[in-house]
Every structure is written in C-alpha cells, then in structure tokens.
C-alpha cells in the first residue's frame, strides 16, 4: 500500500491528502463564520432592542459586532494559508492532515469564541443601556472571549507551518 509519507497524488490511493486539505480549508472558514454569525446576530438583536430606549449609545454598542467579525477574519486567514495545498499535486499526507488539524483548530475555536461574544455582547449592551458604568466591564469580558479565537488562530498557524 502507499507509504503514508508519500505524495498524495499517487493514483493508487486517490490523492486522499488533497481531500483532507480541502476539508481543513473549508472547516476553517465555515466554523469560524458560524461563530461570527452567531455573535453578530445575537449582539445585533441586543443593540437594536436597547437602541429603542437609548439611541445615543448604539454606535458604542457595535463593538461586540466588530469583535465577532474579527473571528471570521481569523478563519479567513487560515483558509487562505491552506488553500494553496488543495490543488498541490505533490502534497504529502503529513501536510494534508496538518491542514485538516489547523482548519479544525481555528474553526471550532472561532465557533466557540463567536458564541461567547454573542451572548456576552447581547447581555452587555442591554445592561449598559441601564447602567452606563458597565461598559468597561463588558469590554473586558469580550476581550477574554476574543482571546479564545486568537488561541485557535495561533495553534492553526503553528500547525500549517508543520508537516
């Protein structure tokens, strides 16, 4: 059978290494987008609800939405790093699996971080409308949630540089 370290384009094994690289690229972007979308939607609903009673605070309250969008950027970064490997005819299995791992790392971390940002942002903007001193506290909690996505990006970049 094919040597695990051999080129992925040996016809006897169907080039499976490229499949795993493609799955890594897709999962990096898709899961990070899921987290970003959840964060955007959940925080956006909170912003719209609280904007009815305090319209002057709306532009400040868009910060959770921006942070959720950054989660999507993390996924985009790793996806663009991986995308060249998908159609590389000399892709080794090691590199293909490394790409899959990197994609899942950033994607699932981004999904989790985006969900956290969404829920914290929603509660935070509604609370800030009633007690303006809570704004700084909301930002601090959002930064911790954003760091989770950053950890996934770091590990994803380390994995893509291996293999």
């Amino acid at each position: 059978m094919a040597d695990p370290e051999s080129s992925g384009m040996n016809n006897a094994d169907g080039g499976a290494a490229n499949f795993f690289a493609a799955m890594g690229c897709a999962s990096a972007l898709v899961f990070a987008n899921m987290g970003a979308a959840y964060g955007t939607a959940k925080s956006g609903v909170g912003v719209a609800s609280m904007g009815v009673i305090r319209p002057e605070l709306v532009m400040r309250s868009i910060i959770p939405v921006v942070m959720a969008g950054v989660i999507g950027i993390y996924g985009l970064i790793i996806a663009v790093v991986i995308v060249a490997d998908v159609t590389n005819p000399d892709l080794t299995y090691a590199k293909g699996f490394a790409d899959l791992g990197a994609g899942l790392a950033v994607g699932l971390s981004g999904l989790a971080a985006g969900m956290a940002i969404g829920i914290v942002g929603d509660a935070g903007v509604r609370a800030t409308a009633q007690q303006p001193k809570l704004f700084v506290g909301m930002i601090l909690i959002l930064i911790f949630a954003e760091a989770l996505g950053l950890y996934g990006l770091i590990v994803g970049l380390i994995l893509t540089s291996q293999g």
Binding site: M9, G44, V52, G69, A79, V86
Partner: protein, 201 residues
C-alpha cells in the same frame, strides 16, 4: 446489577468471537481508507460541490428573507413608513444567494471530461480538482447559509427598532453589513480554491 453484568459479559464475548473469527487474508491484500478515495469518481465530488454551493446559499438567503420579511410586515402595521427602507435588509439576504449562483457557475465551468484508465485510475489532476471543487462548494455554501441566517435575524431587529425610532435604521444597518461580510469571506475562499483547480493538466 446482575442483569447489567450479564449483558456486558455477553457483549464482551461476542466482540472477542468477532475479533478471533476474522477470515484469513492473503498477504498485502488489506483494504485501507485510501482505497475508498481511489474508488470514488472525482465527478461526484465536483458536482456535489457545485450543487451544494447554490443549494446551501439559497437556503441561507431564504431563511434570512422569511425572518426579516415577517418582522418587517408585522412592524409596518403601525409604522408603514419603514417598508421601503427596510427592503434593504431583504436585498442583503438575497446577496447571499447571488454569491452562491456565481460560485456554482464558476465551479461548473471548471469541470472537464477526463479519461479513466483501468491500469492507472483517474488522472493526476482530476482527483485534486474534484476535492478542490467540493471544498470550494461547501465553503461558499455553508458560509452563505450562516450569513443569510445572521443578516435575517439582524434585519428583523432593524425593522422593529426602525418602527420605534427612525434614527436607529442606519445604525443597525452597520451591524447587518458586518454580517454580510461573512458570506463574502466564503465567496473569496471559494473562488481562490476553484481558481487553482485544473481537471486536465
């Protein structure tokens, strides 16, 4: 507890019997997961990718449109002025479907006929091309699915807020723009991946 122990013992015995009763295999004839990939035609991957990119994108757009539209119609009962402005939210959702159409057409033009040989299987480029088109299709499709849902939810809140305070429309629209950027990310990566694909070298 005695019944549970008996059940566990029976499962363990059955497992041991199955492990021991494997038919004798000739040396070097083991089947591997790579054989599955070698046996599947790249055209399955390619056409699935093209289909999913449009199917999932349209699902996302539809989801967003019904979420936004129902809220918009309900809110405009007491505030009919909001109707024409908030159609922008519906158009943002539609954009997700347009992205899916663009990528699906690009992917379908990338599929070319190649010859399968019994001795060597599919040609070198065709395999990677099939995976690339599939990856591009599900990236774009799932990104637009999630983007459409997000824009729809935010658009619904935008309509409800606009009905109560007209100055809020533009501010909540900023949130919708962030949401629609997610679908754009999917299209960018999908087009990059599909651009490198070459079925026949």
């Amino acid at each position: 507890a005695a019944m549970a122990a008996g059940r566990v013992a029976r499962w363990a015995a059955a497992g041991a019997l199955m492990a021991l009763a494997q038919p004798a295999r000739a040396e070097g004839s083991e089947v591997d997961y790579k054989d599955v990939f070698a046996a599947v035609s790249p055209y399955m991957w390619a056409y699935l990718g093209a289909a999913l990119s449009i199917g999932l994108s349209v699902t996302g757009a539809a989801w967003g449109i019904f979420v936004t539209g129902s809220s918009l119609l309900g809110a405009s009962i007491k505030a009919p002025r909001i109707t024409s402005k908030n159609l922008i939210s519906v158009i943002f959702c539609e954009a997700a479907a347009i992205y899916g159409v663009i990528v699906a057409i690009i992917l379908s033009t990338k599929i070319e006929p190649v010859e399968y040989s019994d001795t060597e299987g599919w040609p070198r480029g065709a395999m990677a091309a099939g995976y690339g088109i599939f990856g591009s299709g599900i990236t774009c499709g799932l990104s637009n699915l999630i983007c459409g849902m997000c824009v729809g939810i935010v658009g619904s809140s935008c309509a409800l807020a606009d009905a109560q305070n007209a100055s809020l429309f533009v501010k909540i629209l900023v949130v919708e723009i962030f949401g629609s950027a997610l679908g754009l990310f999917g299209v960018i990566v999908g087009i990059i991946m599909a651009g490198n694909v070459r079925f026949s070298t």
